[in-house]
């Protein structure tokens, strides 16, 4: 039976950053990464970027580590296999290959999986975007398609619409909601994005859902629930992510939407940590249990978990954010920007002028923000959240677009 000191499940940015950090802290320990993808670390965040898709950036740029890096660092990469079972008492993990690996410390950086459509679909023409293989399939299909549907109102869908338009396809965007990114964004913000999409040639169907997909072997159209028939040769379905946690639940690991972890990224089981998109962790800045799916969070989780796995006891602290740009606009989400009932949303700037932010406040404390064409305020707002700046009574200033937020940070 193979035995390692540090076993990491997941070869994405959280798992690989953890391995690299562990190696820096412990030069001789045995470290192994189990990845269900057949690849070394690549830039998942780049997969949805139009410049990558249209090969304006060389494909090779996707690789973040060389083959030889793993050897040089003496990190074993076991790729193309899944972790199927955990025995947290005996401290071992059983892989889909049948191999059993025992560990001293385990990191669960398993990431998310795309939600698969429950509709009957033809063999080819429906795509998801999560892995490098998914991206390769879309790249191969784009030159042979004239019309495409993009489903869902999130970052990936926005970037896919951009890519498909730049590749000169006719694009229809299907939104289940009444406006883009509802309910995370208000109508005014959603409308700015929709205006940009429409100006860029995307046809938007709101309050809409695909009822059936047409085509025998290849997709050749779709029918919406209201009966609208759309011709298309490809459909990109961005209908959400989930985390595969059943095997962990069976082992007694506490899970909710994700794997539950405290501020040290420890799970309820001894010597088992969680990091990345799959970790639902205690955020000490927001004082909430949250789960985030973004690159920077995953990367910094990997680093923090590694430190704590070697015996440090430092809480994870990061104001997380995610940004994108396309169709001539920039969009950023900072911190926890959910407009929950007990929170106040302070609008900043003008939706009509297309430069519009929303600062989310509760009890005199900034929790998060959404920024459209105001990315340059991202750093300042992050700092306000991080430093716990008291904004009670300053609501008018926050809402005044020409007020310099810097003056609130001492």
């Amino acid at each position: 039976m193979k035995s390692v000191k540090y076993l990491i499940i997941g070869g994405g940015v959280a798992g690989t950053t953890a391995a690299e950090t562990l190696r820096g802290l412990d030069v001789s320990a045995s470290i192994a990464i189990v990845s269900d993808e057949p690849y070394r670390l690549y830039s998942r965040i780049m997969l949805s970027k139009p410049n990558f898709f249209l090969q304006k950036i060389p494909f090779e740029q996707i690789w973040l580590k060389t083959e030889s890096w793993y050897k040089e660092k003496n990190i074993e990469l076991i790729s193309g296999v899944t972790a199927n079972a955990l025995d947290a008492k005996a401290k071992n993990v059983t892989l889909s290959s049948g191999e059993v690996i025992t560990y001293e410390k385990l990191l669960l950086a398993v990431g998310g999986r795309v939600r698969i459509w429950d509709l009957k679909i033809p063999e080819a023409g429906v795509f998801y975007l999560r892995t490098l293989d998914d991206a390769k399939a879309i790249i191969a299909a784009v030159p042979n398609a004239k019309q495409a549907l993009s489903i869902g109102g999130g970052f990936v869908s926005f970037e896919m619409c951009d890519m498909l338009r730049l590749a000169n396809l006719e694009v229809s965007l299907i939104l289940r909601e009444a406006h883009y990114w509802s309910p995370m964004l208000d109508e005014a913000s959603g409308k700015i994005i929709e205006r940009a999409l429409e100006k860029g040639g995307v046809k938007i169907y709101r309050n809409a859902e695909v009822a059936s997909v047409l085509g025998e072997k290849m997709v050749d159209g779709a029918i919406l629930k209201d009966g609208t028939r759309l011709a298309c040769q490809m459909i990109i379905a961005g209908i959400g992510l989930s985390c595969p946690t059943d095997w962990l639940k069976n082992a007694g690991v506490a899970v909710n939407h994700g794997i539950l972890a405290n501020e040290y990224l420890e799970t309820n089981m001894p010597d088992v940590w969680a990091a990345g998109d799959a970790a639902e962790f205690r955020d000490v800045i927001l004082d909430e249990q949250i789960q985030l799916g973004n690159w920077v969070n995953a990367q910094m989780h990997g680093r923090a978990a590694a430190f704590n796995m070697t015996g440090k006891h430092d809480p994870f602290k990061l104001v997380s954010f995610y940004t994108t740009q396309g169709f001539g606009i920039t969009i950023a989400f900072v911190g926890d920007s959910r407009p929950l009932p007990e929170r106040t949303v302070i609008p900043r700037g003008s939706a009509d002028a297309g430069s519009y932010g929303r600062i989310i406040v509760k009890d005199g404390k900034v929790f998060g923000a959404t920024l459209i064409n105001r990315t340059n305020e991202l750093g300042l707002i992050s700092k306000m959240i991080e430093k716990n700046v008291n904004v009670a009574g300053r609501e008018q200033d926050l809402g005044n677009a020409s007020f310099d937020l810097k003056t609130l940070i001492v």
Binding site: S43, I57, T323, Q325, N373, T375, L378
Partner: protein, 77 residues
Amino acid sequence: MANEENRIKKVTVNRDLCIGAASCVVAAADYFALDGENKAVIKEGGTANDETLMLAAQSCPTKAIFLFDGEGKQMYP
């Protein structure tokens, strides 16, 4: 050792590669910021030591940050 800590003499960001993931802003908040086009820029009067700059460059998911030594030799990527 003092010499080694101050080897990075020039830092550039390739704007075609930069996607505004802002991992550099997290790693070196006193040195990098995002501009209005969502691209990383070097702050006016920004400061960071070599270790921080290397960490920031290594954290970039598109390898858009280039580090050079005093002789103009590329140190990263």
